[in-house]
Symmetry: C3
Subunit: 677 residues, 3 copies
C-alpha cells in the first residue's frame, strides 16, 4: 500500500521551500508544522540549481541536511523533480530547449515552463537530474514519495519548436503509417493541402485568418498530450528504479491538452490536485448572482480529479489571499475548502504554502503564514482543522458515492468546433446536480474501454458526444442493453473521431441505439426567440441547437417522441425521444441542457436527491457521501456567509463531537459537519 | 453575348467539389441538381493538386471525366483557376511565395490565401497552372466560363514580403517618377522622413505607436489594390487566349483594399458576389432592435455589386446554416434571399454548396444537402424556387431602377482618417432609402470620369467627399449645372487626393459650386450636448461634425442659408445652405447624416417613395424595381417572420401565379412577390 | 536669470515649423504672431534633415535665414535638438539604432521615437548633430534657449535591443557590483533563476505567461529611466558648452518610466509641459457624470510638473481641435486653459501650434490657425488672452501656495504589483482637494532626501508607500517629530525597495512611527459587501484593502484606535489609528482612500478650504493662489459651460480690469478672474 493516499488516515501536509529560508529557521518551521498536525512537506519543486548548480556538478548535502532534520523530527517528505524551471545556465547554453510561440517568438528565462517536452537536449538533461536526484534522495527514510515536475501544461500548452515538429512527425507516423492515411484523415483535399512528403508536415503554423485545418489541429492537441505524457513517463521510469517499496509517484494540477487519465495509468500511483477555490472571487470571475455557486464550483474540479484517482491528494490547498486578486479566506473558509476536498475523495491535503514567499512573482500568493512569519488566525484555524480531521481517519480509503454519472471523453473536450455546447451543458448538469443534492461522478470514455465503469450508475448523461466511434457506440449500447438509462443531447455522433462529418442519417452510429432519425437541425442564435420542448408538465427551454427528431421506421415499437418543439419554425416536430433498448432506456434531447432541463431529467429518472430521506438541507449547502465497508459518511458543507440549518431524519453520529444527533441542526457561516449512521 | 448573365433567363446553379466525393456519386449528384433546376456547377476552385499534383506534372483526366459526364447530362460548368490555395509542395519548395505579416511573421500552409500577389515565383507558377488549365479545359463544350482565383483579398489584404517591397517601389516610381515628388506627396518633411534613395522605400513597417505616415499608408492601400488587379489581369490575359466565344471570365466576392470596378473593367466580363445574408444573425452581428434591418442590409452589398456590373451573378448564395454561428435558413428565407439577389440585378444565382463538406474548416458551412446527403426541406425549397424563377425569365437583362444615387470613391473609402464619418452617413442614407422605399444606386467617382453616370439621377448624395480633386469638382459642377440636385455633407473637399489639408477657404475646390465659406468647424464628441439644425418644420440632429456655413461674398444672389445651429456654441450660425448653380442646386449640410436627416432630404427633394402610387407597403418590406423595354417588374420582399399585407393600387400581374391582382394582398412570413404592370 | 521663466513677465509663445512652409510666408507669419502677443517661437523639433541632409553633410543657412528674420522682427526662438526622429538615411544605414519590441520586432521609420537611447551609434550621431547645431545656432542672438529631443519616452518606453542588454548589464553592475547581490535582490532562488555569468543577464524577454520576475522588471524600469536621463544628459553637456549666458535648456512632456525630477536636476534649467486638456473630451475618456472634473483634471498634471519646477513653462498648450477625437475649444476655453497653466505655476505658455499641419499624421491636431491659415475666432481669442496676460506680469516668479501635500516616489509609481491602490487613492485625494478648494502640492521622496521639502506643509498624505526604506522612514519620522501631521494608508511599508516582502510585523519600518501592529490584512474584491470604518460622525467606506490595526505594546500612551471596521469579518477590529510622535501626529488608515475619506481627512486636519474667508465659490470652480513677496494672487477658474457666481468677502483688485471689487461677481461660461488683495 502506498504511503499517504491509503485507507489508514486522512493526512495533512504543507508545501515548503527550504532553499528560500535560512537553514537555522528549518527546525523551528518543522516544529511549528508538526505541532499544527502537518505531517508531510513537499520540497525541491523548483530547486534544480540546489542540486546541479553548474552543468554536471552535483551537490547533495543541502537537501541531505534538510531530510536528516525532517527524519529526526518525524516529518515525511515528498520530493519533486525540478524540471518545471530549467536553470539559466542550461537554457543559455542550449537555447534549443526553449519553447517558441506559434509566431516564432522564443521564450526566455525569467518565469517557468519555458522549455519544450520534445527537445532531445532537454530530455537528456532531465534524465540526468532525475537520475541523480532519485538515486541519491529516494533511499532516504524521510522521503515517502515523488512529484514529477509541477503542473504539466499549466499556463502554456502549445509548443512550436523544431523538436516539436520532429516529434509530431513521429507521432503521426505511428498513428497513420502512410501519408495517404494522413491526407485522408486530415481532409487535405479541402483547400488543397495534400502532403507529398513527410518533410512538409509541421506543427501548425501561423495562417492568415487563424482558420487552420481542424483535423490537423485536433491531432496536434493529441500530440501535445502525448508529448507531456511521454515526458512524464521518461521521469517515472527512472524514479521507479530507485523508489523504496510503498513510496509513490504523483504529479499535480489538471491542465489543458493533456489526457491525465492515461498519464496516471502509465506513470503515476495516483493523481494530485492543486485546489484554489478562491479563484471564484477574483475580479472578473466573481458572479454576483445571489445564488451563484462560486467556490462550490470547485467541487466540479474535484469530481474531475476523482475520475482519475478515486482517492487522490491535494498537493496545494489554498491557505491565504492573493493580495492582488482575491481576499484572505474568511474565518471558516479554510476548513470548508479542506473538507470539500476530503468530501470529494482526497485522503491527503497539503496546504500551499507554509511561509508566504518574500520574493518572486508569487509573493502575493499567501501561505498559512504571512510574510512576517508570525502566528496568525490561519495558523489557529489549521490547528482546528487538524482537530477535526483526526476524527475522520476511518473515512480514509472510502469512495465517493454517486448514483448518476456524466460521460466524457478527451476528443470532444479538445474539439474546438463544438465544445461550447459541451461546456455549457456540462456546467448546467453539474449545477443541477448540486442544486438537487445529487452526487455525480464523471466517467471517461475510450475506444478501448468497457461497459464496466458505466454500469455502476443507473443513470448516465452523455450530453453531446459529437465526435463518436462505432466502438464507443457499442459500449453505450451494452450499457443500456444491460439496464442502464442513458441521456443524450443534440448533435450526438454527427462526426467521427477524425472530426469528419458522417454521410449518413443522424445520429449516425447511435441510430440503432436511439431508434430515431434527425432529418434537420439548426443552431439557435441570439436572433431566435426562446424555443421550448414540452415534456409532460414541464416546458423546458431548448437552447443552443435544435435537432428535429422522428422515429426511424422499424423502431416504432420501442421508440416514441416524448416532447415537441414550441415557438420555433420546428413547431410540432419531435424534440425529445425515448427508446427501450434491451433492458434499458435511452433518451435523446434535441437541444443543449439548461440547469432546469438537467434537473428535470434527474428528477424524472429518479436520480435526484438520493439522501433526502436522511438529511434535508437547503439548496445552498452541498452534501457529499463517502462509503466504505457498507458505512456511509455524510459531509454537509455550508458555502454561505450566513448560518444555515438542516434537518437530520434519523439518529446519526457527528464525527467532530462524537455525539449522536437528530433533528434540526445549524451550521455556522462556512460551517461543515460530517455524520455517519 | 455572354453565357449566363445575359437577357434570356434567370439561371440557377450550385457550387460543387467533384474531388471531395467518390466519382461514382457524380452522376447521381448531377441528376439531382438538374431535377431541381440547377443548371450550372462551379468546380475546381481549390483543386490545384488535382491538375498539377507535383511540380510540372500535369494530370487532366480527372476533370475531363467530370466535364464529359456534365456535358452528357446537359450540365454547364464554370471552371476556376485554383490559385487561392497553392499546394504544399509549392510553398514548401518556394517559401518566398508566402505572405508575411507586418511584424514579419511568415504565414504557412494549412489554410488558404497565404500567398503574396507580387512574388515573381508565384506569378510564374500561376502562369503555368492557368495556361495548362485553360488550354486544356477551356475548349470543352461543358465549360461556359471561368472564375479567377477565389475571393481576392478575402480575410487578408495586407502584404509585407520582400517581393511586395520591390513591387511597391515599382508602383511608386510609376506614380511619382522622382523621389522628390514622393517626398512631397507623402509630406516626409513631417517627422523627418525624407527619402534620399529608392532603396530606403519599403512597405509600411512596424512603428512604435501604429501611427505611420498616413499618406504612405494611403498609397500602400492603393498599391495592394493595384497588386490584386495586376494579379487578376495576369490570369485573365491567359484565359482570353483559350476562351470559346461567349464564354466569360469573372471572379467573386467583394473585399477590402481592392478597386473592384477597375478590376472588372480591366479583366472580367462581369462581377459575381458571394451572398451570405445570415451573417446578420451571427452572435455579435445580430441587432435586437425590433425594426433592425438585419438580412435586409444585404441589399446594400448588392447595391455595391450592381455599381460594378449592372447585371451580375451570385456565385455563392447561402443555402444552409453555419452550425457554429448562424441558424439554418427558416422556411422561406432561401427563397427570400434568392429573390433579394435577383431583385437587385442578379441574373444568375448559384447556391453554396451542393453537399456540406465532410471535412475541412468549412464543415459547419452547410450547403443545400446536409452531411448525410439525403433529400431535405431545403432541397424541396430549391425546387419551389426554381418553379418561381422560371416565371421570371423575362426579367433577365432588365436594370434596377433608381431615381437617386449616392456617389462614392475608393480614396475616401480607403482613408482611415475620416472614414468613420463616411461609413456612418453611408449606412444612414441607405437605411433611410430602405425605410422610405426609395431605390438607390451607387456611383463611383474617378478623376477620369464623366458626368454621364450621374446625370441619370435627379438627386445625388455625396455625403463626405473629404479627399477631393479639381477634376472631380468639375464633374460635380457639370452635373449640377445640367440640372442635377447634389447633396453634400460636412468636411467636403478639405483635403486633396494625397490626403493633404488644403490651405484655402473651405470647402476648397467646391467653393464655387456651393457658394459658401466655412470659417470654423468642430467635431462633435460625447461631451457635447445634442445639437440641431432647424430646416423649416424639421429639427434635425447635427451629428459628428459641425461646419459653420456662411455665404461667400459674391454668391449672395444664388446662395442662401436654409438652417441654423441650435443648442451649441455655434448657435445662429449657418448649418445648411443651398446654392442655385446653373440649372441645378447644391445643398451643403454642415454635419453628418442621420437616418432621419437623410429621409428628410429624400422627401424634400422629391426622391422618396417613387412607387407609392403603385404599391403601398409597410416599412418592414423592401420594394425593388427592375425595368426593361419600358416594362417594370416590382419585387416585394418580406423580411419579417410574420405575415405582412400590402396594397396594390392598380391591376398588375403576379408573375408567380400569372394572375392579375389588385387591392390588399398578404405575403407569408419571409414571403416574396413579383408584379408587373 | 534665465530667459522666459523668470520673475519679470508671463510670456506667450507658439510652436512653429519653418520647414513646412514657403520661406516667403515666414515674415507674414512672424508679424501676425507678434501682433497677437506671441513673442517666442519654438522651432526645428524634427528638422534633422534640414541641418544634416546627408550623413556628415551640414547645411546651416536655412535656419540662419529664419533666425536672422526672427531677430530682425524681435521674435525670440527656442531651438530644438532634432533627435526624436532620426533621418531615414541614418536608420537605413545603421539599423542597430532602431528599437525592437519585447518579442523581437524591429521598428522601422515612418513615425517617430523609433530609436533606442543606448545604441552607441545613435549616441555618436546624436553627439554630432547636437554639437553641430549648438555650436552654430546657440550664439545667434535670436536664440534664447534649447529644447532637448521631444517628449522623451512618449508613446514607447520599453527597449529591447542588444544595445539595451549591454547597457542594462552596465547599469546592474554599477548598482549591484556582484552577481551574488543581483541574485539576492532579484530573488532568483524563486523559480530557479540564479545567474552564474553576467552574459546570462538580458533585458526582460518574452515568457510564457507574462509573469516575469518582478524584481528584475522593477530594475528594468529603473534602467529605462536611467537610459533616458543619460541620453538627455549627453545632449545637455554639449549644449552647455555653447549656451549664451542666461539661455536655458529644457525638455517637454511627462511620460512613463522616467524620473523627470532627477533628469531636470541633472540636465535642465527647468521643465516644460505639453498641456492638452481636451484629452478629457476624447471618446472613451469623457466622463458623463454631471460633476465630473474633466479638463479640470489637467490641474493634477500641472501639480506634477510644479513638483519638478516650481515655475515652469508650457511648451505646447492646446489651441485647436483634434478633428478625429476632440472638439475645437469652445469660446473661452483657450483662455481658461491658459490661465489654468499660469495659475499652477507656468510663467511661459506656448501654443501648439501656429499653422495646422497640412500633411503628416498630425494633420488633425489643429493649431491656432486652421489649414486655411486665415484669421479665425481662435486668433481673436489669443489676442484677448494677451490683453489679459499683460496685466499679470507681476505674478511672474510667484509660487503656488499649498498648505497640504501628497508625498510620492517613483518606486511605488513603477511598481506594477500594487500601484492600482496608489493610483486610485492618489486620484481620490486630488479630487477631494479640488472639490474642497484645497490647493495641494506633490513632493517626491528619495532615500537621499531631507525633511525640508515636507516641513513646508502642516499636513502630508503618503497614501500607500508600499515599497519603503529605512531612510525614508527616518525622513517621515523627522517630519512628524517636528510637528507635522502625516496620513498613511493601508499596506504601507510592507515591502522593501527591491520589492521583497518584509519578514517582520507590519507596518515594518513604520512600526515605531505609527505605534501599531497589523496582525492580518485582506484585499477587498467584488465578492465582498461594502465595508466601513466609523470615525466619529463619519462612516467611511473602507475600499481596496483592509489592514487590521491594533496598538503595539509599549505605544499605548501615544497611540489609539480612532475607528473600527463595520460589516466585514473584521468587525470591531481597528481600522484607523493615530499616534502622537514628537510634536506631530501620524494617522494610519487601514484601507484605500475614497474621495469622501480624503475630504474628511482634509477637514478634520484643518487643511481644507483655506481661502473660504476670502472668496466663496461653488464646488465646480477651481481656486488657485500664487504668492510673491507677501502678496497673493487668486485665480478663479470656471470649467462649466454655464455662468457661475462667487462671493468676494473683502475688497480686492480685479487684475484684468484694474477695478476694486467685492461681493457677488459672476463668471461667464469658461470664465476666469485674477484677484489680488
Amino acid at each position: 500500500m502506498r504511503k499517504i493516499v491509503n485507507d489508514k488516515e486522512i493526512v495533512l501536509g504543507v508545501c515548503y521551500y527550504p532553499e528560500h529560508w535560512p537553514e537555522e529557521m528549518w527546525e523551528q518551521d518543522l516544529d511549528r508544522m508538526l505541532e499544527m498536525g502537518l505531517k508531510v512537506v513537499r520540497i525541491a519543486e523548483f530547486a534544480w540549481n540546489k542540486i546541479e548548480p553548474r552543468e554536471g556538478e552535483f551537490v547533495f548535502d543541502f537537501f541531505d541536511r534538510f531530510l536528516d532534520l525532517a527524519y529526526k523530527k518525524g516529518m515525511q517528505v515528498i520530493f519533486c523533480t525540478p524540471t518545471a524551471a530549467p536553470p539559466v545556465w542550461l537554457t543559455h547554453k542550449y537555447p534549443e530547449v526553449l519553447n517558441v510561440s506559434r509566431t516564432g517568438v522564443r521564450y526566455e528565462h525569467g518565469e517557468r515552463r519555458h522549455y519544450n517536452y520534445n527537445s532531445p537536449v532537454y530530455q537528456e538533461k532531465t534524465r540526468i537530474i532525475v537520475e541523480q536526484s532519485a538515486s541519491h534522495y529516494a533511499p532516504h527514510p524521510a522521503v515517502i514519495g515523488w512529484q514529477i515536475d509541477n503542473e504539466l501544461n499549466c499556463g502554456i500548452d502549445e509548443f512550436y519548436t523544431e523538436s516539436d515538429t520532429m516529434a509530431f512527425r513521429q507521432f503521426l507516423k505511428e498513428k497513420y503509417h502512410t501519408l495517404e492515411n494522413l491526407n485522408e484523415a486530415w481532409g487535405t483535399m479541402f483547400w488543397n493541402q495534400t502532403y507529398l512528403d513527410w518533410d512538409e508536415v509541421k506543427v501548425p503554423g501561423p495562417v492568415p485568418c487563424n482558420n487552420i485545418n481542424c483535423h490537423e489541429m485536433m491531432d496536434y492537441i493529441r500530440f501535445v498530450s502525448w508529448s507531456a505524457r511521454r515526458y512524464c513517463h521518461l521521469q517515472s521510469e527512472i524514479l521507479r528504479k530507485y523508489l523504496k517499496p510503498d513510496d509513490f509517484i504523483t504529479t499535480n494540477g489538471r491542465f489543458g491538452k493533456l489526457d491525465n487519465h492515461k498519464m496516471t495509468d502509465e506513470s503515476l500511483d495516483f493523481f494530485m490536485y492543486d485546489s484554489y477555490p478562491n479563484f471564484a472571487y477574483f475580479p472578473g470571475m466573481y458572479d454576483p448572482a445571489p445564488d451563484a455557486l462560486r467556490d462550490r464550483w470547485n467541487s466540479k474540479n474535484l469530481t474531475e480529479i476523482r475520475s482519475i484517482s478515486g482517492n487522490f491528494g491535494i498537493m496545494e490547498q489554498q491557505s491565504g489571499a492573493n493580495t492582488l486578486l482575491a481576499p484572505t479566506p474568511k474565518p471558516g473558509q479554510m476548513t470548508l475548502w479542506t473538507l470539500q476536498s476530503i468530501a470529494h475523495g482526497a485522503d491527503f491535503v497539503s496546504y500551499f504554502r507554509w511561509h508566504t514567499c518574500l520574493f518572486g512573482v508569487e509573493l502575493a500568493w499567501h501561505g498559512i503564514l504571512d510574510h512576517s512569519g508570525r502566528d496568525n488566525r490561519r495558523v489557529r484555524e489549521v490547528k482546528e482543522i487538524f482537530g477535526k480531521v483526526r476524527k475522520l481517519n476511518n473515512i480514509a480509503g472510502s469512495r465517493y458515492e454517486a448514483k448518476a454519472a456524466v460521460l466524457k471523453d478527451y476528443d470532444n473536450e479538445w474539439d474546438s468546433w463544438n465544445n461550447f455546447l459541451t461546456v455549457d451543458s456540462d456546467d448546467h448538469i453539474y449545477e443541477a446536480a448540486q442544486r438537487t443534492h445529487t452526487p455525480l461522478n464523471y466517467v471517461y470514455l475510450y475506444d478501448g474501454g468497457t461497459t464496466e465503469p458505466l454500469s455502476r450508475y443507473p443513470v448516465v448523461f452523455y450530453p453531446h458526444g459529437m465526435m463518436m466511434s462505432g466502438k464507443r457506440a457499442k459500449i453505450l449500447e451494452s450499457y443500456v442493453a444491460q439496464g442502464g438509462t442513458l441521456v443524450l443531447g443534440c448533435h450526438s455522433a454527427y462526426r467521427d473521431l477524425c472530426g469528419h462529418g458522417v454521410m449518413e442519417k443522424l445520429p449516425g452510429v447511435l441510430k440503432n441505439l436511439t431508434g430515431i432519425d434527425i432529418p434537420e437541425y439548426t443552431p439557435v442564435t441570439p436572433g431566435d426567440a426562446p424555443a421550448f420542448i414540452r415534456w409532460g408538465e414541464d416546458r423546458l427551454e431548448a437552447v443552443c441547437m435544435h435537432d428535429q427528431i422522428q422515429i426511424e421506421p422499424g423502431h416504432e415499437k420501442t421508440a416514441q417522441i416524448l416532447g415537441y418543439y414550441e415557438n420555433t419554425c420546428y413547431d410540432d416536430m419531435g424534440g425529445l425521444s425515448v427508446n427501450q433498448f434491451g433492458e434499458g432506456k435511452v433518451y435523446y434531447w434535441g437541444a443543449g441542457f439548461t440547469v432546469e432541463t438537467a434537473a428535470v431529467f434527474l428528477k424524472k429518472l429518479n436520480a435526484a436527491s438520493p439522501y433526502e430521506d436522511t438529511v434535508s438541507l437547503p439548496e445552498s449547502c452541498e452534501i457529499a457521501v463517502r462509503e466504505k465497508d457498507g458505512r456511509r459518511y455524510y459531509f454537509i458543507l455550508n458555502y454561505q456567509r450566513e448560518q444555515v440549518c438542516i434537518t437530520i431524519h434519523k439518529e446519526m453520529k457527528d464525527l467532530y463531537s462524537g455525539d449522536q444527533i437528530r433533528g434540526e441542526v445549524c451550521l455556522e457561516p462556512y460551517g461543515t459537519m460530517v455524520l455517519t449512521d
